[in-house]
Symmetry: C2
Subunit: 234 residues, 2 copies
């Protein structure tokens, strides 16, 4: 297989461990205020609102907005279920920015640095630009550019998001590879003509509760980013 | 002065020496085809079409397009004046991509690396994303994100370009500083509420034919990026 000219990356789950990071951030902010709860369940509940919130925009029922705005709406939606009310505005803002402070899986930064030597690399995430910048600065992701939902004005898996990324780099989809730990993301990218690479993140939703292998045909499959780089000959 | 949270950079002339780079690229491509001409005059002629071409879009007479497209139109416009006709399409494409192969002034890459430690850094250029990515990879510019004309859908000095960059990073204009070697760019950024930093590039248009000092009030002024970093306490 010819080396792709650009590699596009899903971020939440694929490059960063949102689940334990959000649990840690929520505990750090809410426990000193006297709240005690299952922090992992809190992270899962917040993430459970993710796809339904984007559906409102993908369907055209609401205009596009940054994922930060959806995260805030989703936070307000889940707090009553954890019997939390009346948080000060600055606490709400800080808690919402927990998504800007997620930690990477250990192979993500070294794997990206290795892949960047021969390929252009960019996130094609549903996260907004400022969120991607903060995650990159925190974790040392050496992006060439921040692509994804905000430059496309829509959310994955809408074809526009993948195609806007290809167009931004002046590349036909066949010269680009979408890399993700989620088969649904890769299936959508493939339908838009991109090549696909799967990364195993078997513990994304808890031990053994992630995709250990792709559930759809992909062009290449790696146990982590370094393994993927090797299989691409990079 | 409080440290800006983000520094936005003009690129052509401010970070890269477009004039001698375009002359070199044009000579490398056209001389083997038997053309002999004043290569610096060729670079100047090409650049002279830059502002008029963008004016067509800034005025609303033409819809937005990537700067690569305008560079191509401008190239076709100047070739007859140099008595060049009938270049093959692949030569035309390669020549147009000379703008992706500009070399940086010596202080640009180390200066950006130093400034990035405490500030988010991004180009806010009229160049398109792929052009900015290629210049960054060639010259080692460690951008946090590629902002500028393509995400704004318009060209500087329209206010939208500066404001779209601030919005992408969730920052009020007063927390952002535009850095450029061109007083007109800085005057426009200041009108949109950004702070401003001037870099001297006295030789941009030939020896002694560049801005050695700002012609408008600015917040900070440096003889180069390293000097600017020092004056910002960074």
């Amino acid at each position: 297989m010819q080396t792709p000219k650009a590699l596009f990356f899903d971020v939440f789950g694929t490059l960063v461990d949102w689940r334990t990071s959000i649990a840690r951030e929520a505990e750090a902010i809410l426990k000193p205020l006297g709240h005690s709860l299952d922090w992992i369940a809190f992270a899962d509940a917040w993430r459970d609102e993710y796809q339904p919130a984007m559906d409102e925009i993908r369907s055209g029922r609401l205009p596009f907005c940054k994922l930060d705005v959806l995260h805030r709406r989703n936070l307000e939606r889940i707090l009553p279920g954890f019997k939390i009310a009346g948080l000060p505005e600055d606490t709400m803002r800080n808690l919402n920015l927990a998504w800007h402070r997620l930690d990477a899986w250990p192979d993500s930064a070294p794997g990206l640095a290795r892949l960047k030597k021969q390929c252009r690399i960019a996130p094609v995430s549903n996260g907004n630009i400022s969120l991607m910048v903060d995650l990159a600065r925190r974790n040392g992701f050496p992006w060439d550019a921040i692509l994804g939902s905000e430059i496309a004005g829509d959310f994955k898996p809408k074809p526009r998001v993948y195609l806007a990324a290809c167009e931004a780099l002046d590349l036909p989809p066949g010269d680009c590879m979408m890399v993700a730990a989620h088969s649904s993301d890769l299936a959508s990218a493939a339908r838009s003509g991109l090549r696909t690479g799967h990364i195993a993140r078997p513990d994304e939703h808890g031990p053994g509760k992630g995709e250990a292998a792709p559930a759809v045909p992909v062009d290449v499959f790696g146990s982590n980013l370094e393994d993927l780089a090797g299989k691409l000959g990079l």
